[in-house]
């Protein structure tokens, strides 16, 4: 028995080490979710206009062109239930005057949790510190993307030194490409 366990442990050790080192590296890469979460933690009491929602507002509303303290806290495929979670999460909205959310045909019945972009749930669990799902894999970076894409992220940030943030200071999406399907996201 001991022989079995020790051999098995040695066999899977490289995978365990690789898993946790990659997980650590991925989590250290700055991303929009962490940025917006931290921004809201320290500035929610100053925000007067808050934009929530999916890619429609993420790529469609630039707070730079709006007077007052405006912030765009939308993310790709963010559904209305998560908009609500964000509002609940930060309870010090002292100056908040307007919350702008995009409404379309799908708004009231589509959810991130049951759509094709489900893998993004982990971002809310990990960086907004929410508990949107009890699935264990939704609390890790690694299982939610292919190995290829994870390796690309690591090499792009750590080796090539590319910025991994895709939003402006006030949360406006800056990496829009016309291949992105705005209907689905």
């Amino acid at each position: 028995m001991n022989k079995f366990i020790s051999k098995l442990f040695l066999f899977i050790l490289p995978f365990i080490l690789a898993f946790f080192s990659m997980e650590l590296l991925l989590r250290k890469i700055p991303n929009d979710y962490r940025y917006k979460s931290e921004y809201l933690s320290s500035n929610s009491d100053n925000i007067s206009k808050l934009f929530l929602g999916s890619s429609h507002s993420y790529f469609g509303i630039n707070p730079d062109f709006i007077s007052g303290n405006a912030f765009n806290a939308s993310h790709i495929s963010q559904s209305i239930d998560i908009d609500y979670e964000i509002i609940k999460k930060y309870d010090n909205w002292d100056d908040l005057k307007f919350i702008i959310i995009p409404i379309d045909y799908f708004t009231l019945f589509s959810r991130l949790s049951n759509g094709v972009e489900y893998w993004r749930i982990k971002n809310y669990n990990l960086y907004y510190n929410m508990n949107l799902s009890n699935k264990l894999s939704d609390n890790f970076e690694l299982p939610n993307s292919s190995l290829k894409s994870n390796l690309q992220r690591i090499s792009s940030y750590y080796i090539k030194g590319n910025s991994s943030l895709t939003c402006s200071k006030f949360g406006f999406g800056t990496n829009y490409t016309d291949t992105l399907d705005l209907v689905k996201t």
Binding site: M1, F4, F11, K135, L136, S146, L147, K148
Partner: protein, 482 residues
């Protein structure tokens, strides 16, 4: 809980360590731990349906005990029928209620008496067809006096709910599995390593073959009206490997997991796609279900004894019931009936037991004759799978009519061609490994046994890397819905 989930990757080592380090002192503890682990495993999906398993367990245990002391044949029959009614009643209600209702409504409407009864919004309990058949095998064998009814309730609970094979088989016979719960299991290194190897191969089949093929089969079947006959052939081919990889992969993981706990389950798939005729295919595909139907339905109906008419009737019954077991849809019945039709020429010519050995045993390649036999059987199987996968009968016929149209002679093209080519290469590699290992219980059982350990490790690491690199999008196991 899915075998290919992180939840199971954590659950299994915990149960394994508790089983061998904490509960290893006494048989009772080992069995009790299996019951608890099995209920957690099942309850992870929906704890409410644990009551169904518990109720079936209680009923069959009690009936088994009653049968022990009952010699009056009429009373014995009543007891057996009680078990059949309770177990098949649950199965019928949860699985077939709405099917029968819809068909009654249609039949009444057809004869000019429209009715509008209320359908029920019923959730199908995962694995109900599997554990129902397993527990029925116990009562029937006790009734037939082939098996001594158990006094050990915990062992019986463990037999009914044994988590590796609870939700998708293999459907174990009480005569094989139940006695294994009476004996204390001792850890055997070789058996455990063998189990891990089988789990690894099962994961490869499920994650690499089935999940990739599923994405492509879904694309083609769901948009079949947009594609040519040649593309639809590819779609059917992808589904053929999806269902094999999915179900035999599940069985491999189940059998491998059982080995880790010191149990031997029956082989459920024996390289069916290398069959030389359809009778051989059915001896190699979902063996635990085919033999269940053989022993508890076909033989009681008279089997192959009696007149030709009787043989034909019994064969049709067993195939149609087997199809219906898979789901409450006419497509499954059509699939079963089509397989019965395939089987008929062999039955009528008395050639249904010609190919009972391993194909091309001791040779690298099959003979030309065997090659054609395998090709024809495989082709017929693919056509039958169209009915199994189609949304309804009309979809199946439209699909097949497009296949047999002029557009069959065209270059296949569909959304995700690159992924399709990659999957075809993976399937080819998979089939080569399967061919090499066709004499074993599972393809990699003996692969690399003569190699040095480091090369063997390279093989295992390579399979793990392929699983990780080429794994498709996670899909539900197909047989969970049956």
């Amino acid at each position: 809980m899915l075998f290919n989930s992180i939840d199971f990757a954590i659950f299994l080592p915990i149960v394994f360590l508790l089983y061998w380090f904490v509960a290893n002192k006494k048989l009772k503890f080992q069995n009790f731990l299996i019951v608890v682990a099995s209920y957690v495993f099942y309850g992870w999906w929906d704890w409410r349906f644990l009551s169904l398993i518990l109720f079936s367990t209680l009923v069959d245990y009690a009936i088994g005990r009653k049968l022990l002391n009952e010699e009056n044949q009429t009373k014995r029959k009543i007891l057996l029928w009680t078990s059949l009614v309770v177990n098949l009643g649950f199965l019928g209600f949860f699985k077939y209620y709405n099917f029968f209702l819809d068909n009654f409504v249609e039949a009444f409407s057809f004869f000019g008496y429209p009715i509008n009864p209320q359908g029920l919004n019923i959730i199908l309990p995962v694995g109900i067809s599997f554990y129902t058949f397993q527990t029925l095998s116990y009562t029937i064998d006790v009734y037939r006096k082939k098996l001594e009814p158990t006094k050990n309730f915990i062992a019986f609970m463990a037999f009914v709910s044994f988590f590796p094979q609870l939700v998708a088989g293999p459907i174990e016979r009480a005569t094989n599995l139940l006695p294994q719960f009476y004996k204390k299991r001792n850890f055997e290194y070789d058996r455990a390593v063998d189990g891990l190897r089988q789990i690894l191969w099962g994961l490869f089949k499920k994650i690499v073959i089935a999940d990739n093929a599923a994405q492509l089969a879904n694309e083609i079947f769901n948009n079949s009206a947009d594609y040519s006959g040649s593309t639809l052939v590819l779609g059917a081919l992808f589904f053929t490997f999806q269902i094999y990889g999915d179900f035999s992969g599940y069985s491999d993981i189940a059998i491998g997991t059982s080995r880790l706990f010191g149990f031997n389950l029956m082989q459920n798939f024996n390289f069916p796609y290398f069959s030389r005729d359809i009778a051989e295919f059915w001896r190699r595909w979902h063996i635990s279900l085919s033999t269940w139907f053989r022993d508890y339905l076909y033989i009681p109906l008279g089997g192959s004894r009696g007149s030709t008419w009787m043989k034909v009737r019994n064969t049709f019954i067993i195939f149609v019931v087997s199809g219906f077991w898979h789901g409450a849809n006419w497509t499954f019945i059509a699939w079963g009936a089509l397989n019965a039709l395939y089987f008929m020429p062999l039955l009528l010519l008395g050639k249904n037991r010609v190919n009972t050995d391993t194909v091309a045993e001791g040779k690298y390649l099959p003979s030309l004759k065997e090659f054609f036999q395998i090709g024809i059987t495989f082709g017929l199987t693919i056509l039958a799978w169209v009915f199994f996968r189609a949304e309804n009968i009309s979809h199946a016929f439209t699909y097949l009519s497009t296949i047999f149209s002029k557009s069959l002679i065209s270059i296949p093209h569909f959304q995700g061609m690159g992924h399709g080519l990659e999957t075809i290469i993976l399937i080819m590699i998979f089939m080569i490994v399967e061919w090499i290992g066709r004499n074993e219980q599972f393809a990699i059982e003996k692969l690399g046994f003569q190699w040095k350990r480091r090369y063997r490790y390279v093989l295992y690491y390579s399979i793990i890397m392929i699983i990780y690199l080429y794994g498709g999008e996670q899909q539900q196991f197909i047989y969970f819905q049956f």
